[in-house]
């Protein structure tokens, strides 16, 4: 493995970012995490625009953890744009959100989410969930070919 696998976390709550980082760290998965604090930043990152214009477009993330309730551009819209672009349409996107609403679940899958995970409030549960998630998507699951 030349590079550690990259996760793009799209999350506006710094607490959640910290908890996620910690959970991943504790799980011992060799990974590199980039964070986008809102939808617009996530899209800039993915399409190498704005502040991310200098990013190597070849290095697209191995997994995107996407919150739905985001400032500027919400999670569903980000998902739509990822799926609409040939460069990113195959990227694994896991929706990670506080909502248990059926409407949100449906909308996420309809727009091409690979997985939908509800963030547990309990810290231990949360850590377990992230741990499982990371293992599955980064270790077990075969990444789609890079385009």
């Amino acid at each position: 493995m030349l590079y550690p696998k990259t996760i793009l976390l799209v999350e506006d709550n710094p607490g959640d970012v910290e908890l996620t980082k910690r959970a991943l760290r504790k799980s011992g998965i060799n990974t590199n995490m980039d964070v986008a604090e809102d939808g617009a930043e996530a899209l800039d990152y993915l399409f190498c625009k704005g502040d991310y214009a200098v990013r190597n477009p070849e290095l697209s993330p191995n997994l995107i953890l996407l919150d739905l309730n985001l400032p500027k551009i919400n999670g569903l819209e980000v998902l739509k744009q990822i799926r609409a672009n040939d460069k990113t349409k195959l990227l694994p996107v896991v929706v990670l959100t506080s909502s248990k609403e059926q409407v949100d679940v449906e909308a996420a899958y309809t727009n091409g989410a690979n997985s939908y995970i509800h963030k547990p409030v309990d810290f231990i549960e949360f850590t377990n969930t992230i741990n499982h998630l990371g293992r599955y998507w980064l270790d077990i699951n075969e990444s789609p070919p890079r385009i």
Binding site: N13, P120, D122
Partner: protein, 1003 residues
């Protein structure tokens, strides 16, 4: 006369006889050739030369060398009859011979020969030139001249003998020679004539033979025994035989046996009588067919009158007989036809004499035909009538044209009508010579005719006295009959036989023809037409057209039509009233539909124009001190100084006057009536408006407005107009009043509506906020909880060493609170969801559902300490997930509130009601005071302290919500320290209710 003369006479007679004999022999020997050529002449000349030699050989020798013979006669006649060539040859021979005889008279003799010949030729020329016949005197004169010449020539003889010669011969010569010339000449003439006759006969015979052979009629000739001796080609052709088949056979060979007797009887008679006519035989042709022939014939007899042969011609009358038979039959038919005719038919000649009468004529005159023939008209017809008929007969015979008359005569004391036709019969030259008079007794026809006429007259009288029109047309719409009424009323109907296009304008005519066609197709048509009378007035006609089936030809169209103008006008008036009502009704409906008075007025004004064709109408409404023009109808052009919506200050005095008058009509010179200071009205008068009408709109004794009509016609506004306008004004006043009321109501309604709208918007906004709130709760309220929980956990994990026991406990409390908060959020979301989501009704098996829920709620660690009874629960129709939630909440509560007790029992049961099923959960828990019963189902209402019983206070609220949504009921019964019983009911389906009812009845 001397001795020599007598001797000479004797010799000369001898010589003459010889000449005559030889002449006759010559004539019979020499057959005269028909061909007139040189050879014939030469041969004739040589022949004659021999005859001359013969007579010269036997001369009378007077003296030596002086001889006399009849050569002069022969040569003169030769010249005369045979011409120059034979004459010269004969003369030459004679001269040679005389020269050989020699003697004293040799030259004289020769000259006599030449002279005789010349005289003969001269006579021949004279005969041809002057057509002198060869009669006695001509021949005699030739003889005299020739022989005088001869005697004169004697003088040239030697002088010693001439006197002697003359003395001896003169007398005999002059006596005999001319006579012999005559005799021989006559003989020649006779022979010549005979020759001519013979030629003619031969020609005639040959012609006859040709005729006979080629004659178109068949000829035959029978001998005395009746054998066929000659037949011609036509005969052979007619019977198909060859000549050899029949010649020599008896006539009966070609005769049909039945006619042998006829032949045998008639042939002797024929021979005796010499001729026969129209004897008919049937002959047998070679091919065995028979032909009927008619013979005509004569017999040929010899000079003695003895029978030689018959000459008969026959003609084939087979066809003729056939034709005669046909003719006879036709005549018989014709006769029977004529006889069978009802009419009396007779043929008269110019004199009026009857030649023929048929049985009808015989019967009518009661005489036989035989008795009638030969009688004159005067004996047959009644006196007066006969002259009349004869006159007609003469006219017919003179003009050759048929005349038909009708006459009346008294026959046997009875009046009889005759229809008489007199036709001419023409002879071969095309001249009329007879007249066929055909008379028919038409008395009964006449009587019928008269009856018909009478009937016709009655019909016409009926038709002419009809109060309306009646007509008959043919299928091409041609007028065949029109009664007096129509003829009088409508131009163009006076003359019959005219088509609509000849009576009406093209468009109208086309319509009428189409209409008539429709009548012919459909049988009947009823219509109201407007027709312009001859006097120019317009009338309405109620017309019914119908088909008259015509047995004789195309169907006809009959029609009756009544002038309904008066009814029509009355109806129109009624209609106009109805129309008025309709317009007023419309006005009402406009009032109901429309909210503004101006739009009511505008709509009404347009309708009003249909009733009163005014030029201008202005609806004025009083508004405070002003008058406003609420609606205006004015001509398309001009009148810009008056506009709809304008306000003006009225002349109050005039308004008061109007209010008092109610209506004011100024049909003539309104300017004289109007007060000054009404500039608009005055301008209108200047612009040609001549009649004014004002109608006040009065409501509750107060003027609210007025109508102002104008017209450019003087005396325009009628009483009816006024009436309508008044009604209209009243109506408008009412409308105005109504509208004012409606406006008030409307204002209130508008206010109300506005308030409702505001509230609705507020509510909507609240709902939106609530939804947004829910969403926020779902997403955002959890995140801080997780952060708090997360970071507290991190603190406890990472910094446990630095924290006091007390701090650790506090952190645990924080974590516990966050968990509780999470539960609370979840339940609130659940409750909110209940409002939003629709129910999914299914048949719910309550028994197994309850058992399932019990398993999950009453965990293994507490289960043994609980006495749980579950009755056999009936199923229901409900949303399974939600009902499951109900059971879960109720059971959780039951467990929760029973745990503190030592006796722990939970009973799940049901009660069956008529329209619902009531389920309940009964526990032996702590219970609650019944005065709080209404609180337990409210959100966040708790009856116990949290440290006693965990819980959010939402559980029963959710239960109530779910049961409410199922149209059921929830209630509870409780006793402190005894336990609580919570009921809920689910309504039964209609089918279940029905089923239940039936069961109840059975019981």
């Amino acid at each position: 006369m001397g001795q020599e003369s007598i001797t000479g006479l004797k010799y000369l007679i001898y010589n003459a006889a010889l000449l005559l004999t030889l002449g006759i022999i010559f004539d019979s020997v020499v057959t005269h050739s028909k061909h007139d050529n040189i050879l014939t002449h030469v041969l004739t000349g040589l022949g004659l030369g021999l005859v001359v030699l013969a007579v010269m050989v036997n001369p009378w020798q007077l003296s030596h060398g002086v001889v006399f013979d009849t050569r002069s006669i022969l040569l003169s006649l030769t010249g005369m009859f045979f011409g120059v060539i034979p004459g010269i040859i004969a003369a030459f021979i004679a001269i040679i011979f005389r020269m050989l005889q020699g003697g004293a008279g040799v030259y004289t003799g020769c000259s006599v020969i030449v002279a005789s010949l010349l005289w003969g030729i001269l006579w021949k020329k004279m005969h041809y030139r002057w057509k002198i016949p060869y009669g006695f005197w001509e021949l005699y004169s030739l003889g005299i001249v020739t022989h005088i010449t001869m005697l004169v020539l004697m003088l040239f003889m030697p002088s010693n003998i001439w006197a002697y010669v003359l003395k001896s011969i003169t007398l005999p010569v002059m006596i005999i020679y001319p006579l012999v010339t005559v005799v021989l000449g006559q003989l020649m003439v006779r022979r010549m004539q005979l020759r001519k006759e013979k030629v003619r006969l031969e020609q005639s015979e040959s012609q006859f033979r040709k005729l006979y052979e080629n004659a178109p009629s068949p000829y035959q000739s029978l001998d005395a025994n009746g054998n066929l001796i000659a037949v011609n080609n036509a005969w052979l052709n007619a019977l198909g035989y060859q000549e050899s088949d029949v010649l020599g056979k008896h006539f009966t060979f070609v005769l049909v046996p039945e006619f042998y007797q006829v032949f045998n009887t008639n042939f002797p008679k024929f021979k005796a009588a010499g001729r026969t006519e129209n004897i008919e035989f049937e002959l047998l042709k070679k091919d065995n067919t028979k032909i009927l022939v008619s013979f005509n014939g004569v017999i040929v007899t010899d000079l003695d009158g003895h029978f030689v042969q018959t000459l008969c011609v026959f003609s084939d009358i087979t066809e003729m007989r056939k034709q005669q038979k046909i003719l006879a039959e036709s005549e018989a038919k014709y006769r029977s036809l004529v006889d069978s005719s009802y009419s009396s038919i007779a043929i008269f000649d110019f004199e009026g004499i009857l030649h023929f009468a048929n049985s009808g004529a015989c019967e009518s005159l009661n005489l036989s035909e035989a008795e009638l023939i030969g009688k004159s008209m005067f004996e047959i017809f009644p006196p007066g009538n006969a002259e009349f008929q004869l006159k007609i007969l003469h006219k017919v015979l003179s003009t050759g044209e048929r005349i038909v008359t009708e006459s009346y005569a008294t026959v046997a004391g009875k009046g009889v009508w005759y229809h008489t036709s007199v036709s001419p019969v023409f002879d071969d030259n095309g001249k009329p010579y007879l007249a066929v008079v055909s008379a028919t007794d038409i008395t009964h026809i006449k009587e019928a005719d008269l009856a018909l006429k009478e009937s016709q007259e009655r019909f016409e009288m009926f038709m002419d006295n009809l109060p309306g029109g009646a007509f008959i047309k043919d299928c091409e719409s041609r007028v065949l009959f029109a009664n007096k009424y129509l003829k009088g009323a409508i131009a163009g109907w006076q003359k019959l036989g005219r088509t609509p296009s000849e009576i009406y304008a093209e468009e109208e005519a086309t319509a009428i023809v189409a209409e008539d066609k429709e009548v012919l197709e459909n049988g009947l048509r009823h219509m109201v037409e407007n027709i312009v009378h001859s006097d120019g007035s317009l009338h309405y006609y109620d017309t019914t057209k119908f088909v008259l089936s015509n047995p004789k030809g195309n169907p006809l169209i009959g029609g009756i039509t009544l002038d309904v103008t008066e009814q029509r006008l009355a109806e129109e008036q009624r209609n106009s009233y109805a129309n008025r009502l309709e317009i007023l009704r419309k006005l009402d409906s406009i009032v109901l539909e429309t909210r503004s008075f101006d739009s009511v007025c505008s709509a009404a004004v347009e309708n009003l124009h249909n009733l009163i064709p005014f030029s201008l109408l202005c609806v004025n409404v009083l508004e405070g001190e002003y008058v406003r023009i609420a609606a205006l109808h004015k001509p398309a052009k001009g009148y810009d100084y008056i506009q709809s919506g304008e306000q003006y200050i009225p002349n109050y005095e005039y308004l008061d006057y109007l209010t008092a008058q109610k209506t004011l009509v100024l049909n003539e010179s309104p300017q004289s009536f109007l007060p000054p200071k009404m500039p608009v009205a005055r301008r209108m008068i200047e612009d040609g408006q001549q009649s004014f009408m004002y109608n006040s709109m009065i409501m509750q004794d107060k003027m609210v407005g007025f109508l102002w009509f104008t017209s450019d016609q003087q005396g325009f506004f009628t009483a009816e107009h006024q009436e309508i306008a008044d009604e209209f004004a009243d109506q408008l006043a009412l409308v105005l009043h109504h509208l004012q009321l409606i406006e008030k109501i409307q204002d209130h309604a508008d206010d109300l509506e506005q308030r409702v709208e505001v509230r609705t918007n507020e509510l909507k906004e609240a709902n939106r906020e609530l939804e947004s709130f829910t969403y926020t709760v779902a997403h955002d309220l959890r995140s801080p909880l997780r952060t708090i929980d997360g970071f507290c956990s991190i603190l406890m994990e990472d910094h446990a060493a630095q924290l006091t026991q007390d701090a650790m406990e506090n952190l645990k409390v924080i974590i516990k609170s966050t968990h509780k908060m999470d539960t609370l959020i979840n339940e609130l979301l659940e409750l909110a969801k209940l409002n939003r989501d629709s129910l999914k009704h299914t048949d719910v098996d309550m028994q197994s559902l309850v058992e399932e829920v019990c398993h999950s709620v009453i965990t293994s660690k507490v289960s043994q300490s609980f006495d749980i009874q579950i009755e056999n629960l009936p199923p229901c129709r409900a949303d399974m997930a939600l009902i499951g939630q109900v059971w879960q909440n109720l059971l959780e509560n039951a467990v929760k509130f029973t745990l503190p007790k030592t006796e722990r029992s939970i009973k799940i049961g049901f009660e069956d009601a008529a329209t619902e099923t009531i389920y309940y959960v009964q526990d032996s828990g702590v219970g609650f005071e019944m005065k709080y019963v209404n609180k337990i189902f409210a959100v966040f209402q708790r009856l116990h302290h949290e440290r006693e019983f965990q819980g959010t206070g939402i559980g029963l609220a959710i239960v109530k919500k779910i049961i409410d949504r199922h149209n059921g009921r929830v209630w509870a019964e409780s006793t402190i320290d005894v336990g609580t019983k919570v009921y809920f009911s689910i309504p039964k389906t209609r089918a279940a209710v029905a089923k239940n009812l039936v069961q109840h009845k059975k019981q």
